[in-house]
């Protein structure tokens, strides 16, 4: 029998063991937090120590509880998430120590939720049964912001609950992916087998694609009323990527992208704040004192960083509006340099690679679609905001998963990761069962 190459690669010791990888993942964040604390000048009673201890504590406890990373599903994904959280927390600490202390709390809640999903989900297929409940909950969450929402930055996506403000669209995104996965599993055979053609492009059978299109339309209508462009792009983008995974037809994706472009044009015609974003994107320098200030400051920050950055605490990223949330990537580029910025992008790339890797070897369609969907959600969100910060795509107010300050976003990203890790773990458990059976037979 062959040795299991995957587990053999994760030996107890050596440079590729989960322990070593995990320790290496924590170090950059920890050094960053240390430097931010030193640079602030107040060494005694600085909140930096507390944040540093909280961050390492949360991840270490999780690592140890999951058999030193061996039963977490995929130690690589877990380490990548720890790395991103650490770098993000270091930058938030440098910008605002008070926010960083709260962010440690969000991190603890996120890791706890993720752990519960990995350890206590009976089977992901149970989730499949609740796909319509997930869709309904998602719509209710979105609708709640229209009725009770508070406006911030032109988008009405916050819910004020007294001491805390939450962003229900973050949870709605994850729930919607669960629905997409369940629904596409049911209809994928039908989506593939349609043979109607329009101008040489294969069309899906309307009676099967109809409910899904309706679902998407509903989500989009909600978002238009909420005027949150970033969330609309994510909802639709993830839907397209999952449709491609389920059907293998590029024509759906191309058609969808055309729809999105048409929607974008309509939105910019209808809503002044969306139009302003497009105009600023085309030439931010013309508006550098007004609407383009944020983008221009962010570009200055990225340029100031150079190769290795000025070091956490020595730059001036606080001049960028919304630096700890939407523009945290620019702050990282300024203080950790090109190296830090590229590493963040690389970490997302690896995260997507691992997520799709597990999706591709999943034996169950729902599990495959869920893993692919959650992975696309994180990857697409990162791409949207990094592109926006660098001025490559129009700026949308979404957070950088695991890195930006924000409780709702942090917890939702960890929930998505938890489901991918769960899918990976189920895959491994099933494989081990099969391996056992084969060796008994042989």
């Amino acid at each position: 029998m062959t040795r299991d190459t995957r587990n053999a690669a994760w030996g107890r010791r050596g440079p590729s063991s989960p322990d070593t990888l995990f320790a290496t993942a924590l170090l950059p964040g920890m050094l960053g937090m240390l430097m931010a604390t030193l640079a602030s000048g107040k060494l005694e009673r600085s909140p930096g120590w507390l944040v540093l201890a909280g961050f390492s504590g949360v991840f270490l406890v999780c690592h140890v509880l999951f058999g030193r990373g061996r039963r977490v599903g995929d130690p690589v994904i877990f380490s990548l998430v720890a790395f991103l959280s650490g770098v993000g927390l270091a930058e938030v600490l440098r910008l605002d120590p008070g926010l960083a202390a709260r962010q440690v709390g969000h991190l603890a809640m996120g890791v706890a939720l993720s752990s519960v999903l990995v350890a206590f989900t009976p089977d992901l297929r149970v989730l499949e049964r609740y796909r319509f409940i997930a869709a309904a909950t998602s719509c209710v969450l979105l609708a709640s912001t229209i009725i009770f929402g508070v406006e911030a930055g032109g988008a009405k996506s916050w819910l004020d609950l007294g001491p805390v403000a939450v962003q229900p669209s973050e949870a709605a995104k994850v729930l919607m992916v669960v629905f997409y996965a369940g629904y596409l599993k049911d209809t994928r055979a039908l989506l593939r087998r349609s043979s109607k053609r329009l101008l040489g492009v294969l069309l899906p059978d309307l009676s099967y694609a109809g409910p899904l299109t309706l679902m998407w339309g509903l989500a989009l209508v909600l978002l238009v009323f909420q005027r949150d462009l970033g969330a609309a792009v994510l909802f639709f983008g993830v839907f397209l990527l999952m449709l491609y995974v389920a059907s293998g037809r590029a024509s759906y994706v191309l058609g969808g992208a055309a729809l999105l472009a048409a929607g974008g044009a309509a939105c910019s015609w209808l809503f002044p704040h969306v139009r302003a974003r497009f105009i600023v994107w085309l030439n931010p320098w013309r508006f550098m004192d007004s609407a383009g200030y944020q983008t221009v400051q962010s570009m200055f920050a990225v340029a100031a960083g150079g190769l290795i950055g000025l070091g956490p605490g020595r730059g001036m990223p606080h001049v960028i509006p919304a630096a700890p949330t939407d523009f945290v990537f620019a702050a990282i580029c300024e203080e950790m340099g090109l190296v830090g910025g590229l590493a963040v992008i690389g970490a997302y790339a690896l995260l997507v690679y691992r997520g799709l890797f597990w999706a591709s070897r999943a034996t169950d369609d729902f599990r495959a679609l869920l893993a692919a969907g959650m992975t696309s959600l994180i990857g697409l969100q990162a791409l949207t905001i990094i592109g926006g910060v660098l001025g490559l795509v129009p700026l949308t107010g979404v957070t950088l998963p695991f890195v930006s300050y924000g409780g709702s976003s942090m917890i939702a990203s960890f929930a998505a990761t938890g489901l991918v890790l769960r899918a990976a773990r189920e895959e491994q458990e099933e494989h081990e069962k099969e391996e056992g059976r084969v060796s008994v037979e042989g």
């Binding site: 029998m1 062959t2 190459t5 995957r6 690669a9 994760w10 440079p15 590729s16 070593t20 990888l21 290496t24 993942a25 170090l27 950059p28 050094l31 960053g32 430097m35 130690p75 690589v76 380490s79 990548l80 790395f83 770098v87 293998g248 190769l307 290795i308 950055g309 000025l310 070091g311 956490p312 020595r314 950790m336 340099g337 190296v339 830090g340 590493a343 690389g346 970490a347 690896l350 690679y353 691992r354 890797f357 591709s360 070897r361 999943a362 034996t363 895959e427 099933e430 494989h431 099969e434 084969v438 042989g442």
Partner: protein, 140 residues
């Protein structure tokens, strides 16, 4: 002090690079193809067609070489004209311990005895190999 700060910045960049390198290595950015056990196993392997939409026809037999690619593309070692078979669908590799089949990322999957392959798997005498609507029987 300024020198210490420079040292800290370089250390931070170094740690970031070290992590990314280790993560990329652990993520296994090597293809399955490279990781398959290879060898010059003795013994012969043969596939017999049990059912299929036409080409190859029923009863036809193929003997397996060191590497056999099955798929719809004309470059495949065993060309299968079946709409549910991908261009490069699956591959059978001869190793010391026998013949291993693994899926090459096909759209509809490769099934051995009714179970979808998630990774490479050894073929045993009498195993039923399904690609799309085409069914093979493995003769050791």
């Amino acid at each position: 002090m300024a020198f210490m700060w420079l040292l800290a910045r370089v250390a931070l960049a170094g740690l970031i690079c070290l992590f990314l390198y280790r993560a990329a290595r652990a993520a296994g950015l090597v293809t399955e193809r490279d990781r398959l056990p290879r060898g010059r196993g003795r013994g012969r392997g043969e596939l017999e067609v049990e059912a299929g939409p036409g080409v190859p026809s029923r009863g036809e037999r193929f003997s397996l070489g060191p590497v056999t690619v099955l798929g719809r593309s004309p470059e495949s070692d065993i060309v299968i004209l079946d709409p549910y078979v991908s261009a490069k669908h699956a591959e059978i590799v001869r190793a010391d311990s026998g013949f291993f089949v693994h899926d090459l990322g096909s759209a509809n999957g490769t099934y051995v005895n009714g179970r979808r392959l998630s990774r490479e798997r050894i073929l045993r005498k009498g195993d039923r190999l399904e690609l799309g609507d085409t069914v093979f029987r493995f003769r050791g």
